[in-house]
């Protein structure tokens, strides 16, 4: 391939003819092509900013009960008021403020679940991939066992054993997704370990730990980044499902799934108390899935050109 065709393919990011673009610039170039992924990223940034500044942007305290404003409909419906944009719930709490504070919980759940499961899965996958033999067999068999259980069932069981609560729900969801990271890491390690650059650094005297963490790991990150992004959506969905089943966050915590389940009996008389938390979950999860898909396309060299 000549330099001309290369610069024709990536005109904006090629700084000088013949020099390859910086990896980040190249990544951004491919990522930008995917409108859905950019929208997803924008929505996530917006939700994250709202969550971070919740005490300032929320019009009311999420737990204050306005006894004079019980089940007030959203502002555009008959009987709605500008005081409560999205209406109030059955004990007069502002829906919008609860949703905004709920965003904090959902993002926190996603962050903690992904960090925990990624850390454990990475450690297990690296161990299995590097040491092979008995460690590999034991770890991967254990992962197969976890994968044989439907994920929500496993999460429900773990939450039932640990007892209901947001922290336990996060632990339960983390356990469930560990096998995905472990398998991905192991596969990536196996693919990388026999390559020349790894052999070269081994010959140069790199220790096992250095080979694992400094030489091989950075080259295995692409699929893990994608999986971690998609992991956010699984974590948020599953934690909300546990909340809905009464095994996650407990009322009055403004967790979206819990909000939904605690106002079920008003489904007919005041649909907005059920609609909004669901919309919030759907939009957040959709945004992470869009972002994950976009990252996969931008990071996967096979699909790149």
């Amino acid at each position: 391939m000549t330099t001309e065709t290369q610069s024709a393919a990536t005109p904006a990011t090629t700084p000088a003819p013949g020099r390859p673009p910086h990896p980040l610039a190249e990544f951004w170039y491919h990522f930008r092509q995917n409108t859905g992924a950019v929208i997803g990223l924008a929505v996530i940034v917006l939700i994250a900013l709202t969550a971070l500044t919740a005490p300032f942007v929320a019009p009311h305290d999420p737990n204050i009960q306005y006894r004079d404003a019980i089940l007030v409909p959203p502002v555009w419906q008959d009987g709605g008021s500008w005081r409560f944009l999205l209406g109030t719930d059955d004990i007069g709490r502002d829906m919008l403020s609860r949703l905004i504070f709920g965003a904090r919980l959902s993002l926190l759940v996603g962050l903690i679940v992904v960090t925990l499961s990624l850390a454990v899965g990475l450690a297990l996958g690296l161990t299995a991939g590097f040491f092979r033999g008995i460690a590999d067999t034991l770890i991967m068999r254990a992962m197969d066992i976890l994968l044989a259980l439907p994920s929500l069932l496993l999460a429900v069981v773990v939450a039932a054993i640990l007892g209901p609560g947001l922290v336990n729900a996060m632990l339960a969801v983390s356990v469930v997704v560990i096998p995905h990271y472990a398998r991905l890491t192991r596969a990536a390690v196996l693919a990388e370990a026999s390559k020349d650059y790894v052999v070269a650094s081994r010959v140069a005297g790199a220790g096992r730990l250095r080979l694992m963490l400094v030489v091989v790991l950075p080259n295995c990150l692409a699929p893990l980044i994608v999986q971690a992004t998609l992991g956010f959506s699984t974590a948020i969905l599953d934690a909300a499902a546990l909340g809905f089943l009464g095994l996650g966050a407990q009322p009055p915590t403004p967790e979206w799934g819990t909000m939904l389940s605690s106002s079920l009996q008003f489904l007919q008389s005041a649909p907005w108390v059920v609609t909004w938390p669901g919309v919030a979950i759907l939009v957040t999860v959709l945004a992470f899935n869009l972002l994950g898909d976009g990252l996969r396309d931008a990071l996967d060299p096979k699909l790149k050109r």
Binding site: A148, L245, L247, L260, V274, L286
Partner: protein, 336 residues
Amino acid sequence: MLRFILTRLGLVIPTFLGITFLTFLLIRLVPGDPIEVRVGERGIAPERLAELRREMGLDQPLWQQFLDYVGNVLSGDLGTSLVTRNSVLSEFATLFPATLELAFCAMLFSVLIGLPAGVLAAVKRGSWFDHGVMGLSLTGYSMPIFWWGLLLILFFSVQLGLTPVSGRLDLLYYIEPVTGFMLIDTLLVGETDAFWSALRHLILPTIVLGTIPLAVVARMTRSAMLEVLSEDYIRTARAKGLPQRRVIGLHALRNALIPVVTVIGLQVGTLLGGAILTETIFSWPGVGKWLIESINRRDYPALQGGVLLIATAVIAVNLIVDLLYGVFNPRIRHAR
């Protein structure tokens, strides 16, 4: 062929033993020992406690207890429910057909819509139809299905009054279970009205449970078709002057189906897990709702047995898919 089957069976045994160990641990991890859990807050005399512990083998070393448990499981004894005092296996067996019926309908729904949608999206790549299918399927994949179920109830049952809100059958009818599948049982006794009632009860739960598999099947079919459509043999078929329908339906679809079938097999776990939510929303009397009730009643033997049985069902289905795969694709059968 026999060797292929035996290898696959051999791989299943450690997984099954692992699941058994996991469910065995389950009841030990619950705070308090099984007898205290069973007695609850009533309290028990220490000598009676020791006697019960001996009776139940709880004074044995842990490995001995585990071997006993495996022995019991293999002979079909999964313990008794603390609440109903019935055998867990028989309770599960009565409720499982309801879950199976729902899961089967959901699977049918997702394949009947997802497969053609995926094929069409691939053939019309880049069109508004393609974008629509992809957008909808990503939305479906991101759907909190418990909320989706509530929206459907709100619209179709409450607003339009078209479908019932919960259960499997109108209270007017009583059908003696023969197969446990309501659609079949009502027809067996010739009650067509009851059959229609059962069908109307199935519609919403089927849509709710089938939404995520539908999204997965549509996406997978599309990408498998796109991959196949760029193959040389498709160009050859087109060059031979075969009509488009024949190229797509015969040459492309057949080859694209292999990954799609695998994905459908993997969705069985999702279906049985999703059944927990769907059955809870629609008061569908299956094993998912029963498991949640068992948790709420602290009926740990029922939970333990139920989890083991569901996991076994998932393992069995995956094994069958694996074997079918080998039957249909000789390259896999002779790989090792």
